[in-house]
Amino acid sequence: MTRSFTSAATLDDALSALSAGARPVAGGTDLVVGARQGKAPLPQAIVAIDRIGGLGAIETTDVGLRLGTLVTHRDIVASDEIRTRYTALADASAIVGSHATRAQGTIGGNVMNASPAMDTGGPLLCFGATAILRSSTGERSVGLEELWTGPGSTSARAEELLVAVAVPVPPAGTGSCYVRLEYRRQMEIAVVGASAVVAFDGDRVRDARVAITALTPTIRRVPAAESALVGTEATEDVVEAAAAAAAAASTPISDVRGSAGYRSAMAAVIARRAITAALTRARGGDVPIPASPALHGAS
């Protein structure tokens, strides 16, 4: 098979190309880099989707947020709506790669790359996001927990294109945060990451979502950590217990960036920082975006 490249002008063009066996590229920050690193060769047939109109918008509606698949990390960080109501997502996009990665890298590529270490995954999972997958035969909506089936693998079919990520509106007064353990500020991948999304009812936590990143084969929520928080006043002891539950759910690997033992030990620390910062934000306190560097050196 000879190599081919087409640039799709319309969504239908892209879907036809996918049906014929082509693979999509948008910003190239995962696909091309992965090929350079020997992870997977570049596809023989490539369809560029970055010129398709209408896929790069951040839309806010009564039911929530709709991120077009071509929305870049830079777009996310610049969105007041996201910074205000989906703060953890802004925390995450603000620390992806470098300024070049954030200018070119898209939310669609990030989600479909399905890395267990991706920064935006935990926040999206905690906010209850769904992937809108389109093929020439129709469209379906898949929760991210069903989309991600393993490191680098998804339940999407080859002919399906992620066209948008839909995120429901969080309740008023929700606070959220994403924190990662990092060895440097930029061009870094999470060694360990944690996300928390909490909402109060008076002094008590009404709803809590906690997810762990780079600690399991896919990013996942930790129900035991969430139930430890709900109904409580989220005192330090409670937060500690929730963080311990997040660490207990971890089954990390050892690799060049950290041993399994180190990751497990740090899971509780990072989860505690994420939960504490989300609680602070839910109580109206200020934690800068991105939270990660701001919380380095915190207890």
């Binding site: 000879t2 190599r3 081919s4 490249f5 640039s7 590229v25 910003g27 190239g28 920050t29 091309v32 880099v33 090929a35 350079r36 690193q37 570049l42 490539i46 560029a48 970055d50 010129r51 830079r74 790669g97 470098s98 300024h99 070049a100 990665t101 200018a103 070119q104 440097r184 500020r185 930029q186 061009m187």
Partner: protein, 174 residues
Amino acid sequence: MKVAGTLRVNGTEYPVELDPHVSLLDAVRDEIGLTGSKEGCDDSECGACMMLLDGEPVNSCSYLALQAEGRAVTTVEGLAGDEEVGPLQRAFLQQAGVQCGFCTPGMLVSATALLRSNPDPTEEEIRIGLSGNLCRCTGYRGIVRAVRQAAAGEVPPLRTAPVHEDTTPPHHAG
């Protein structure tokens, strides 16, 4: 199979025939012949290949050349416009922001992108803005000083040596 296309680099259109897997960096260096942009890591880590794509920074080693068709590509050669060197480049020379020079083209492109989005960055913002660019000489302090100087708009012209026929060796400032 090669695909025919046109790349617009620094305002000039270049017809090219490219393998679909060729990177923007390789196309610009090897097909077009503009060798200012460097290949350091070929892995989006070091930033030596940094270019602007419609004004936005891109690691050109990891961007497919054919995807850049119809977009405005800017390399270090295009930063100064008609000038030999622009104020940012003069500041790099005057602040000793250049050691071996390999990272310099990428640094200049990233700094240009930074100053366009944030014309008066703090030192911390400069360091974050350039953190996708590695200097193996570790000459970051001069680089940061240079960006500060360019942002402040206080970059005097380069001192030029008197020129005597063709016998004068090439001029090096700084």
